[in-house]
């Protein structure tokens, strides 16, 4: 199996080239920033969580994970829609969900943010679901700021579109 890194190492070793890493030109992706993730989770939760008794809002953990994952990667929306449409055809469903499954399993940042929100009592675990905690106003505040300051427009547009896409339990299974 070809190993590009090995190839590059050999190429550099065989020449007079000297690799220089400029740290000032490297920047971690915004996708891993806590503030960004909080905004996306807040907007996802506020748009997709259902209101239960006493005004408590609730959403399936896996559903929130899938929704926020798609929201922060709008170019995957078309694939999710295709997956949703092919849910009755197991083979097609498997093919169209491959990209999601592969990328989704590696996204641990969402789990870390959820753990952070549990610790702050913004969200509370409730079986396989998440419920709003005593400090859930943080989520509504962030959602309002995003709307009033016109932030993360593409993400919010995806969240809006996702209200029309059917996400079944079958699609959420295994996660």
């Amino acid at each position: 199996m070809p190993n590009p890194l090995q190839d590059l190492t050999e190429l550099l070793g065989s020449s007079q080239l000297r690799p220089v890493v400029k740290l000032d030109r490297l920047g971690a992706s915004a996708v891993y920033d806590l503030q960004y993730r909080l905004f996306v989770i807040a907007c996802s939760f506020m748009r997709h969580a259902k209101t239960e008794l006493h005004g408590i809002r609730q959403i399936q953990s896996a559903r929130l994970k899938l929704i926020q994952f798609t929201a922060s990667r709008p170019w995957l929306l078309a694939h999710l829609v295709e997956w949703s449409k092919s849910r009755r055809d197991p083979q097609r469903s498997l093919l169209s969900s491959q990209r999601f499954r592969r990328a989704f399993l590696g996204d641990t940042t969402h789990d870390d943010v959820i753990a952070f929100l549990f610790a702050n009592d913004v969200l509370r675990p409730h079986g396989s679901s998440l419920r709003s905690g005593s400090r859930d106003n943080l989520l509504s505040q962030l959602n309002d700021i995003a709307a009033s300051s016109n932030l993360f427009e593409a993400e919010r547009k995806v969240l809006e579109t996702l209200t029309t896409v059917r996400i079944t339990n079958d699609m959420l299974e295994g996660w």
Partner: protein, 696 residues
Amino acid sequence: MIRLVQIELSGKADVGAFRGELTLSPGIQIISAHNSYGKSLAVTAVAWCLGLEPMLGFPDNDATCFPEAARERIELGERSDARVLSSACSITIAHQDGRQLRLERDIKGDPTVVSIEETSADGEVRHSRLVARRETMHDEHGGLQRFLFGWLGWQRESLLTYKGTSAEIYLENVAPLFYIEQDEGWTGVQALQITRYGQQQIAEIAIEYLLGATEAIKARVARLQMATREMALRENARAIAERVTTLFLRNGWAVEWSGNGSITEILARWTRRSLRESLRKQAEVDLASQRQFLEQQAETLRKKLTSEPIDPANASAPAGASQKAIELKMRRHALSAELRALYSQQAETEILLESLSHRIHTATDLHRLKTTGIGRLDHLECPVCHRDLDPDTFGLTVQSADSVAAHIESLKRDRDLVRKNNEGSVAAASATRAELERISDELREAERALMTVTAAVGTIREQVAQTAADLGAVERSHDRLSTVIQEIEGLQGEIDRWVAAAQTVARVPIAASDLQHRRQAFLDALRKYLLALGHSAMHATNLGGLTLDEQYTPFLEGRLLRSLGSASDRARYVAAYSLALAAASNQVQGLHPGIVLLDEPLQQNPDPAHRELFLTFLEQELARQATFQTVIFTSLWDYEIAALREKGTRVISPEGRHFLNLEPPPAETPSDEGSATDAGSLDPTKPETDEGPSTV
């Protein structure tokens, strides 16, 4: 330099004739009268007689710029609603060389014409009638502005419009710098400037014109013309380069012929080598050799077909034709696969570009959050033990604004790289498509040849058919090549013409101008006037920090002066700018007419401090000793008038309730001269009293 000598309004109402006049002196003077006296009538009359109503936002010849009293109903004597039957106004201007000019224009009547009474320095009087607004600058004999520019000794300047056409500088372009009208005039420097005429950089040009920097204006216009021409040339270069690239790609030749960059860069590239040379150098395609080769091939085939002997034992023709068709089919198949791969690569690249664009957008939003502080997380703590919750504990990071900015930069670099790759992939797809079309054509010909050869009976006929098919194919290739050569020659002709045009642009010299010392004089004067008028941001210690940018906008220590200070500083800023320009122009022998008209400077802010500062300015030497004429229309209290007069500042406070008054019946008038000093006349030569109706 000129000065206003008299402003007069007269007319007939159903109750009799009415009139009002204002006689002005050189230097500074304040016309103080209560509100609704009719000061605006006099101010508007100046603009009207000079044909400046477009500057006030009114259509040509539209007298509605005047208050109703001059047009419809007027309060005269006992009657509060006397009907105006006709009205007109006039202004008298004196030139410093002794000439005098009286301009009269109907308000109610025929406003299209201005009657001129021109008195020469030796007293000779000449009358004429000029058209106020139509062809006002272009009509050599009847245009009012053409006449005024000549009378003032102002030179006409040809400017460039945004459409690329020529236009002149008009009086209404320079007047906003010395005619400050009470409504909009105080909202900013040149607030009444007319931009709808479309002259480029008109605000800067108006200032330079009044400063007498006509050479600088010519240089500015030349630069603009050059920029417009360069823009057109660059546009043309891009279009030519696109056609060249399309032609090359259509033929499967990878030749870079770019129309991007500056004129000099394109010129250097395009004169280095011709299209044919580039083709030979980069794609190793020599069109002349190719044509020669095809001609030789055709000649050989013709010879073979007509005069060379045919070997009856040679049976290889069908096999050769078949082999050729098979090879072409395989080649077409390979090219189709290559094209599919390229299209798929393009589609993937499009998705990648979309994802990069989205990530840039997201990161930009995040950067905005980090730098502006909106959506900043409040202090977060554990609800049980109330200890701070550190995101690090959860394996999370809060990135700094710098880190996000670095990420944005790197994403942008990636995007540029992907875009370039995509462009390369699009070009490769184009070339492959062209090659595929060419191969498909050849395959069709080969299949036709194969059919003919297999249909022929006997080896001789087979060989003849093969040679004939080969000849046909070579001739068609020759025709195609000739067409391409013609296209290349046509494009080369366009490139040569472009190069010739670009070389003339590069050679246009721009004359040096004497702008610098005029600009400096203006800046010095502006510093003095801002300080004297009491602009709250200006102090004796920071005067050196005042600068003018390329658009003559004042900056104080790098900050826009207009945005500094209090609300009432806006009026001081506008007044200082107008007065400084007049003073500087006078100092450098510029083209400023030498009149500054300030309408209601005190109404701009009712705050007593503003009033006090302005009155203090009027008492100062700088205001009183100015060599140009400053006419200020305002309302002052009696004690203010007394204080100003005591300091030697001229204040005219008229008698009567209104500017326009009924004229006494002719029978009762002892002589014509007497009527000039009737009520309603504001003559500074008359004794002035402090008890005049100047209270507000």
